[in-house]
């Protein structure tokens, strides 16, 4: 079934078409979410949210972007939202810690701006170092990096999903790589 036909059937509420869509895009949605949240069950949760949103809003899909681009955008947005709420939670947890025990309060507003080797334990050291380094990147750098490295997307496709120019994508990926290298170098020096 081609994409146009699939969209028509989805808009008609066809359950078989929806099942087909989930089968076709589930791995890409899951993998992209993994690139942001680095946690299987959270990525699974995001995938569910994305497909529920697809189901609910497909009637408004006008085909200005491809189905795949549309789904990627939703996945990126949901993943970034998830990380933002994680950050907020962390902030409130630090406030809570402040009221529970003054000694716990470091007064740092953004504790995850650098890698904390002390928080990294066991064999997963390098994995966690990379995750922390990725999380410290600005959102647009991280998005470009994830789409390229986790999804094997071409720069041109990334430009479409992110709605930016091709040179912007090149620059974002370059800066993301450079920043990651710097942060990881600092981590391994310690």
């Amino acid at each position: 079934m081609d994409e146009k036909q699939l969209v028509i059937e989805l808009q008609a509420g066809d359950e078989k078409a929806f099942r087909q869509l989930v089968g076709k895009y589930q791995q890409q949605v899951f993998r992209t979410a993994m690139g942001f949240v680095h946690d299987g069950s959270e990525a699974d949760d995001i995938a569910q949210e994305v497909f529920v949103e697809v189901f609910r809003s497909v009637h408004g899909f006008r085909g200005e972007a491809s189905l795949s681009t549309w789904i990627y955008r939703m996945t990126v947005n949901r993943s970034l939202n998830r990380l933002r709420s994680r950050k907020r939670k962390g902030f409130f947890q630090r406030i809570e810690a402040f009221f529970q025990d003054d000694a716990d309060w470091t007064g740092e507003p953004e504790a995850d701006c650098s890698i904390h080797p002390e928080a990294v334990v066991g064999n997963q050291e390098t994995a966690q170092a990379l995750q922390q380094a990725l999380e410290s990147l600005p959102e647009n750098q991280r998005t470009a990096f994830v789409l390229y490295h986790y999804e094997d997307m071409a720069y041109k496709e990334i430009a479409t999903v992110m709605n930016v120019s091709l040179p912007s994508v090149e620059s974002l990926i370059h800066r993301a790589r450079k920043n990651l290298q710097k942060k990881l170098m600092n981590f391994y020096k310690k």
Partner: protein, 142 residues
């Protein structure tokens, strides 16, 4: 030898396996000669390996079933005619059971008055509960 942006991009693409044979050879030669690039290369190699591990994770099975579950809980309410039908059927059922209850109640009164004549032991259990001095029995330690 190489400019900064070029080196960074080359290093990542080298570890991703995206360079041509010629470019690979150039990179290997450069890494043998340049210590600072070699250190960077180790870091990039580690990062690329971690990403490969993470992105190879499969979607947990039965994703579609979980999505269906979520959709069920937010499905639109049934159409008006269905809801009206269910409500009126429920009301009718309720009225019938009240009417039935009243009917049964009056039958019971007649039956009880009948049994008291035929079987004087019929209400024994109830009479016992009424007559038994329970509290007195429980606290009478003497």
């Amino acid at each position: 030898m190489m400019n900064e942006q070029h080196t960074t991009e080359r290093l990542w693409e080298f570890h991703l396996g995206n360079l041509s044979e010629e470019e690979n050879r150039q990179m290997e030669a450069h890494l043998e000669a340049c210590e600072s690039c070699l250190r960077e290369s180790e870091v990039v190699k580690q990062a690329v390996q971690e990403i490969v591990v993470e992105r190879s994770q499969e979607v947990p099975p039965f994703l579609y079933t979980r999505i269906q579950g979520r959709l069920e809980s937010v499905r639109k309410p049934a159409p008006l005619w269905k809801r009206t039908l269910v409500t009126s059927l429920g009301t009718i059922l309720l009225l019938v059971s009240i009417w039935g209850g009243v009917k049964l109640g009056t039958m019971d009164v007649r039956q009880t008055s009948g049994t008291s004549v035929e079987n004087p032991m019929g209400n024994l259990a109830i009479n016992e509960m009424v007559n038994e001095p329970i509290e007195g029995y429980l606290f009478d330690f003497k």
